[in-house]
Amino acid sequence: MSSRDAGPAASRRRPPWLAVVGTLRFVVTLAVAAAMFLPFFWMFSSSLMTYQESIRVPPVWWPEVPQWHHYLEVLRDPRVPLGLYFKNSVIVSSAVTLLVLVTSSMAGYALTKLDFPGRDAIFRLFLATMMFPAFLFLVPVYYILKRMPLMGGNDILGLGGTGALQSHLALILPFAVSAWGIFLMRQFMMSVPDELVDAARIDGASELSIWSRIMLPLTRPALATIAIFTFIGQWNYLLWPLIVTTSAQHLATVPVGIRMMATAYSTALNAGKLQAATVMAIVPTIVLFLTMQRHYIRGFALTGFK
């Protein structure tokens, strides 16, 4: 508001209540900032506290001697294989992101630049699925993955083995298509002039090379937004990995790992180590967000929600 006051009104004397409003605004801003920041600060500081410090009244804000060894002990603890959680999360999130980019941009191209019967009906069907709650799929998709033919010891009818349930595919395949991604690619590709595509066709370019050499480079901002949004969304996703890793613990991703660490460090004496483990588990997403925040925030502004 203050920047707008530089109109004709500013030449008059500032009324005194404006100063009060300004101070009040500063105080509220500070309070909101503290509310957002303190929980993170508390998590970090308590990861460096001894057990005695963490239960002292009045509370200790910063430990007398920071217990950095909590971090080393967590990294060396075979009960909480952080490296494995990270590896699984990187594999799953990258693979899902790549698949979503390919399926979304191909579908977006077909839905905007190619003509065929039923095009709009198919698009509307994609959109309609955004309203289906995830819970509608959990049980049947679990069953479908278990019955995948010729995988995990299954026969050609999908019987006898564990199917895709014991591999990373169980965490990747169900998320390969995103209605939101298709929607966003379609919006972006509509702004690419049809003449450009027609000219390339006249020059004898195949549809595949028009898609890869013209459309993909021109829609790079949209691809980046979808990529970072999908990656962080998958990285943080708990429900499905939780279900799959009940019978396949070697597939645990970072969020499932955080849950398992809570069990491993359940005694109060381990509170510092548990906090250290949580800090290490969330640092990568925060760093990723910091480096890509422009694209990530655009994803929110464009769609409003995850």
């Binding site: 508001m1 957002m36 929980p39 009244v57 049980v139 049947p140 962080i232 969020p255 809570a262």
Partner: protein
């Protein structure tokens, strides 16, 4: 022809992992399948899963009520706070730092957010009760009393989600033409009048959009409640009835009690609720004359 080829990867995954499962869900919801025996051998039980859930299952009914309270509370209180923060930080210096502060919880896995706040709410070691004691107030059972457990989780959900809502509001605020404010100021409008007569009416599409998307996702809340309350309900320190939300109920019913038929019926009831809610909201939006939502 090329059109279908380009769509085929999307359609293939879509059929196998979205459309077919929905059909299978409907079938499973009419059986007593337990996830272990082959589905083909599951007994057909007709509508009994549905009638059981809706008439005899107190926990499911409680979960519907809790989810309704959770959804309305987090979405509307969250929006009010987010609008305040958006007005506060729109046009303010150091907006990069601001964006980071309010967005850090949004990108943090909800299970970690639950851990952070579980620690803050801890009855004996938590900061909140230590602070209460330090100023001479009685400590509270934040996550284990029947009255406070759900509100405590809701407060955390609002903290975690407010950043995303703020971003959408700021985008909405930037779309309001500056001339409106200039004209109002020439007419002698005060800031409060500007907010009430210009900002709020012109933000209505944003508010309605956030209501629809917010309510749809709030009805499916799982991670936060799972990480903050499930431990308490299992150890008996939290009354399950106070914190049970639909998603948590369905998860435990399907994957812990292995009653896949009943859980799938519950998922279909949830779908009908979300679908109905969305239709009602869309109708309200159209009556408001918002072509953008057609």
């Amino acid at each position: 022809m090329a059109g279908y080829l380009f769509l085929s990867p999307a359609i293939l995954f879509y059929l196998v992992f979205l459309l077919f499962p929905v059909g299978l869900s409907v079938y499973i919801s009419f059986t007593n399948w337990n996830m272990l025996a082959p589905l083909e051998r599951a007994r057909w039980v007709g509508f009994s899963n549905y009638t059981y859930l809706l008439t005899r299952d107190d926990m499911f009914i409680a979960s519907l009520k809790n989810t309704l309270v959770y959804a309305l509370g987090t979405v509307f209180i969250g929006m009010a706070i987010a609008l305040g923060v958006a007005l506060l930080i729109n046009n303010v210096r150091g907006s990069a730092l601001w964006r980071f502060l309010i967005f850090a919880p949004v990108v943090t896995p909800a299970i970690a957010v639950g851990r952070i706040w579980g620690g803050i709410y801890h009855p004996s070691q938590g900061y909140l009760n230590q602070l209460l004691r330090a100023v001479g107030l009685p400590p509270q059972q934040w996550l284990s009393s029947a009255e406070l457990a759900l509100p405590s989780i809701m407060a955390t959900a609002i903290w975690a989600g407010v950043g995303a809502t703020v971003i959408v509001f700021i985008a909405g605020l930037r779309n309001i033409p500056a001339q409106y404010y200039e004209a109002a100021r020439i007419d002698g409008a005060r800031p409060w009048h500007e907010f009430w007569h210009i900002t709020l009416p012109l933000l209505r599409p944003t508010v309605l959009f956030l209501s629809v998307t917010g309510l749809i996702s709030a009805w499916q809340v799982f991670d936060l409640v799972y990480s903050m309350a499930l431990g308490g309900t299992e150890s008996g320190t939290t009354p399950a009835r106070a914190v049970m939300v639909v998603a948590l109920y369905l998860y435990t019913t399907a994957f812990r009690s292995l009653r896949a038929g009943r859980a799938t019926a519950g998922a279909l009831i949830l779908f009908v609720i979300i679908f109905g809610l969305t239709l009602i909201l869309l109708r309200v939006l159209r009556r408001g004359g918002l072509e953008a939502y057609e």
